[in-house]
Symmetry: C2
Subunit: 470 residues, 2 copies
C-alpha cells in the first residue's frame, strides 16, 4: 500500500490521529490492507496528509499498541494478521525451580503495602454523591419496593450508553445484569455455565476467580500466557466452555491483548456451539497512552462474549455495583434460571449511580481519577528511578498496578523477602500463579500504586533501596 | 402439679403473663413439670397468684401457641413432651388428584394480587433514613474503602444485640455474615455445605430456595409437613446434611413450629456430625399474639443451627441487607473458602442501617409495622367475613400472609381460577409444592395482605364474592 486516499476532516469532532488510526484499522478490517504489507513511512504519510509527523506517530503508536501493526526496527510498520497475529514467544528465561513459589513474607504489618486492590478515593465527589442520594431518597416511596431483578432500567440504560461510548460495547439495557460486585456476578456466570464444561483461566491471574467458580461447583483449567496474553492455541478443542480473560490490562502482568489475539480467541469461541469468552474489563478505564482499546465484546458478531465490569474500582470499593452484559442465548437462560432472584443492589444506590452517570459526574470523575493514577504511576516510577534501581516495566501503560522486572541480580523470592524485611510489601509474580509456570518472567514483582502520595513513594523507594541495593 | 410456688414481681420489668409463661416453661425444661401433667385451672392459678384470669389466659395461650402445652376442651391444659411432642397428623382429606396442580390463571394482570412478597413501605421513616444517610456520608472518606468481608463491625454488633434481645439468638458479632439479600446468603450456605449431602426442604415451601441451592450445585430433597411443620421423622439417617426450615411461620402454611418439634429437629442434627438446621427466620418480627417464639438457634447448645434473616422484609425490599449467623465450625470454613470475597453490601448502607438499629429507629419502625400488618390482616379477615364467606385460617397469627381453607365446596383449582376470572390473584397451596403432596389441605389458598388499604380489601372481597359465592 503506497498511498492513502482518504480525506482528513481537520475541523471534525475527532482528533486527526484518531482519524488516521480509524482509517488504517478500517482498511485492515475491509481486507484492503493485508497482513505483511508495509505502511507508508511516517514522514511520507505526514507530508501526504499535510499533518505533523507527531500526529502520524501517535496513530501508528496506537495501532501498534493494539496489535494492528508491528514496528520492525530500521524498516517501518507492517500490518499484522487480524485472526492469526504472529506473537513472539515469551522470551524470559526459566526461573530456577527453587525460587518459583515465593514464600509469603514473615511480617504481618508493613510500612508500605503495594497491594493491587486499593482504590484512591480521595477525589471522590462526595458532596455530589450525597446530593444525588438525597434527591433520590426525596424522590418517592416507590423505590422502597422491589425493583427489576436485572437492575433498575435507568441505571442499565446509563450503563449501556457509557459502554457504547467509552468501551465500544454493543448492547441494549436488556442484556445488562446489575449485581453487588464482580464476585457475585462471576459466581452467577459460573452457575449459568455449570455443566457445560470447564472455564479456562489466565495463569498467572486472579486466584479469586478460580475460587469463586469452584465454590459454585464449576471446574477450571489454568492456561499459559505469552506476551499477547492467554494463548488461544492452548485452548483445548473439547471440555472447555469458556475462557475468562482480562484483555484490557491482564492481571497481573499488565499485557494489553493485541487485536490479533482477540480475534483468535473469538474465532475459538465461534468454532463450536456453547463456547464463550468471559471478558473481565476490570480497569479498562485507566489507560494513559493512546485511547482505550475497544472491548472484545464490541468485536463479537456472534454473541459469544460475556462482558463483566465494576464500578467498585473506578468509584469506590464500598459502592458494590458491578454489571454483566449477556449474549442473547445466555440472557434467555439467565431469565429462566435466575429470573426469580431479587437484585442484590439497593435501589437507592442504583438510582444514585444512574444519575451520577447520566448527569456526567462519572465521566468527570473518571477523568480526574485517570489523571491521579497516571500521576501516581509516574511518581512511583520516578521514585524507583531516583534510587538508581535498574528495572523494566512489563505490560501496558494502564491500570492501577504494574509488573516490574528488577535487574539487580536478585531472584523474585529475594526481592519479596528483602523488601518485607525493610517493611515494604511487594508481590512476586509467582504469587499469582495458580499452577506453576515454567517460563514465568523472572525477578518480577507486582506493585499497585493507587492511593499513595509522592512522599509515600519516596519513603518506600528509600526502603527498597536498602532492601534491593545494599 | 397442683400449685406453683414462685413469687411474681408485680413491679419488675416484665409483664406478669410473661413471668408466668417463663416460670412454667422453665419448670418443664427442668423436668419438674412432665409431659402429660395437667396445669392448674386458670381460675385457681389466678386466685393463687392474685392476678386476673386474663393474665393467666395470656400466659397459657402463649404456652399453647408455642407447643409447650396443649388445651384439651372441657378439661384444661396439659404439658407436652419437649423432645417428642405428639403432634396430630394432618387431618385434611386428600385433594382429588386432578385438582392438585393448580394451573396458572390465564390472566396477566389483576386488579388485586394477593402475592406474599409485598412489603408495605408506606410507614418507612424516610426522613430519618435520609438524615442518617447524610450523617454517614458526611462522616468521612474511610467508608469508601473496602470494608470487612463479613460486614462492618458496628452493623454486626447491632444485629447481634437485636437478635439476642428480640429473637433469643445467642451469637457474637463475629459469627454474623452480612450479605445482599437472603438469596445471596442461601447460595453461600449451599456452597458451604456442598459435597456434604443433600439439603432437606419443606414441601410445600420456598421453590426459590430449592432453585438457589440447585444453581449452586447442591442437591435437595423435599420432605412432608404436618401440623407442627417439617416432620423430623421424615429426615433420612444418611445423605442429608441440613434441613432448611421456617419455624417461626412456615411458608406458606403459616404453621408455628412447636417447641417439641424444634427439639426433635435439633436432636436429629446432633445425632451425627456434619448435620445442620438452616433456620430461615424470615418474618419472625411480625407476630400478633403473644410474644415471639425464641429462635431455634437460641435452643441450640451444639452449634448445629445456621440462622438466616433479612431486613428486606421489615424495612423495604430495596434495602438489600440480610444476615447469616454461622456456628463456629462453619465460620472457620467460611473464612477459609469465602474469606477473600468482598462484602456485597454498600458500606454506606451498612452504616446507615447500623445507626438505624442502634439508635432505636428500627425497634420503633418494627412496632409500627407490626401494628400495620396486624391491622391489614384483620381488615382482610373482616372483609372476607363481611361477604359471608365460610373459611378457616391455618397456621399462626403472624407474618404478612395466611393460608385459608375456603369451605364453599370449591376445589383449590376452582378457587384460584374463578378469582382470576374476577380479576383477583390468589395462590393455591399446591402452587408451593415442589413435589406433589398427597394429604395437602384441600381448598386452601394463600393470601399476602401487606400493602393493601381497607378499601382495597373491601373491593377485592366484593370481587371474591362474585367469584366464590355466585
Amino acid at each position: 500500500m503506497d498511498s492513502f486516499t482518504f480525506t482528513l476532516q481537520p475541523h471534525g469532532g475527532k482528533p486527526m490521529y484518531e482519524q488516521i488510526y480509524e482509517y488504517i484499522a478500517g482498511e485492515m478490517w475491509a481486507g484492503r490492507l493485508r497482513a505483511g504489507e508495509k505502511l507508508p513511512s511516517r514522514r511520507s504519510l505526514a507530508a501526504h496528509l499535510r499533518v505533523s509527523q507527531n500526529t502520524v506517530d501517535t496513530a501508528y503508536g496506537m495501532l501498534a499498541a493494539e496489535g494492528y501493526v508491528r514496528a520492525v526496527p530500521k524498516s517501518g510498520f507492517y500490518a499484522c494478521a487480524l485472526e492469526r497475529l504472529s506473537v513472539q514467544p515469551a522470551g524470559a528465561e526459566p526461573e530456577p525451580a527453587q525460587d518459583a513459589p515465593a514464600s509469603p513474607p514473615g511480617r504481618d504489618r508493613f510500612l508500605y503495602d503495594f497491594r493491587t486492590d486499593t482504590v484512591d478515593t480521595s477525589i471522590f465527589p462526595y458532596t455530589t454523591w450525597a446530593k444525588l442520594s438525597r434527591e433520590v431518597i426525596a424522590g418517592g416511596d416507590s423505590l422502597l419496593n422491589r425493583g427489576d431483578p436485572q437492575g433498575d432500567p435507568p441505571l442499565r440504560r446509563a450503563i449501556a450508553k457509557y459502554l457504547h461510548e467509552f468501551r465500544g460495547v454493543n448492547c441494549s439495557a436488556d442484556q445488562i445484569v446489575v449485581g453487588a460486585g464482580l464476585e457475585y456476578l462471576i459466581g452467577l456466570t459460573a452457575q449459568l455455565l455449570r455443566g457445560m464444561g470447564k472455564i479456562a483461566l489466565e495463569n498467572p491471574g486472579y486466584e479469586r476467580t478460580r475460587r469463586i467458580i469452584r465454590n459454585c461447583g464449576g471446574d477450571t483449567v489454568c492456561l499459559p500466557l505469552d506476551r499477547a496474553g492467554l494463548r488461544a492455541d492452548s485452548l483445548p478443542g473439547d471440555g472447555v466452555c469458556a475462557a475468562y480473560i482480562t484483555p484490557s490490562h491482564q492481571f497481573p502482568t499488565g499485557v494489553v491483548m493485541p487485536i490479533g489475539r482477540r480475534m483468535e480467541l473469538l474465532a475459538w469461541a465461534c468454532r463450536a456451539p456453547g463456547r464463550y469468552i468471559i471478558e473481565d474489563d476490570y480497569d479498562s478505564e485507566f489507560r494513559y497512552a493512546g485511547r482505550p482499546i475497544p472491548a472484545l465484546q464490541g468485536l463479537d458478531q456472534h454473541g459469544r462474549v460475556i462482558y463483566l465490569s465494576t464500578f467498585s474500582k473506578c468509584i469506590a470499593p464500598s459502592i458494590r455495583v458491578a454489571y454483566l452484559v449477556l449474549p442473547q442465548d445466555l440472557l434467555i437462560q439467565y431469565r429462566r434460571v435466575f429470573g426469580a432472584y431479587s437484585s442484590t443492589v439497593s435501589r437507592f444506590e442504583q438510582q444514585t449511580l444512574a444519575r451520577f452517570l447520566s448527569e456526567g459526574h462519572f465521566g468527570r470523575h473518571l477523568n480526574r481519577t485517570r489523571l491521579l493514577y497516571r500521576r501516581q504511576r509516574s511518581q512511583l516510577i520516578q521514585s524507583l528511578t531516583g534510587i538508581g534501581l535498574p528495572f523494566e516495566i512489563l505490560g501496558g501503560n494502564a491500570g492501577v498496578h504494574f509488573a516490574m522486572r528488577v535487574k539487580n541480580g536478585m531472584t523474585e523470592h529475594e526481592l519479596v523477602q528483602r523488601a518485607a524485611d525493610c517493611g515494604v510489601r511487594v508481590y512476586g509474580l509467582s504469587e499469582y500463579c495458580m499452577v506453576p509456570v515454567e517460563d514465568l518472567p523472572r525477578s518480577t514483582v507486582v506493585l499497585g500504586y493507587a492511593g499513595f502520595s509522592a512522599a509515600d513513594f519516596q519513603r518506600a523507594a528509600a526502603l527498597l533501596k536498602q532492601a534491593w541495593m545494599p
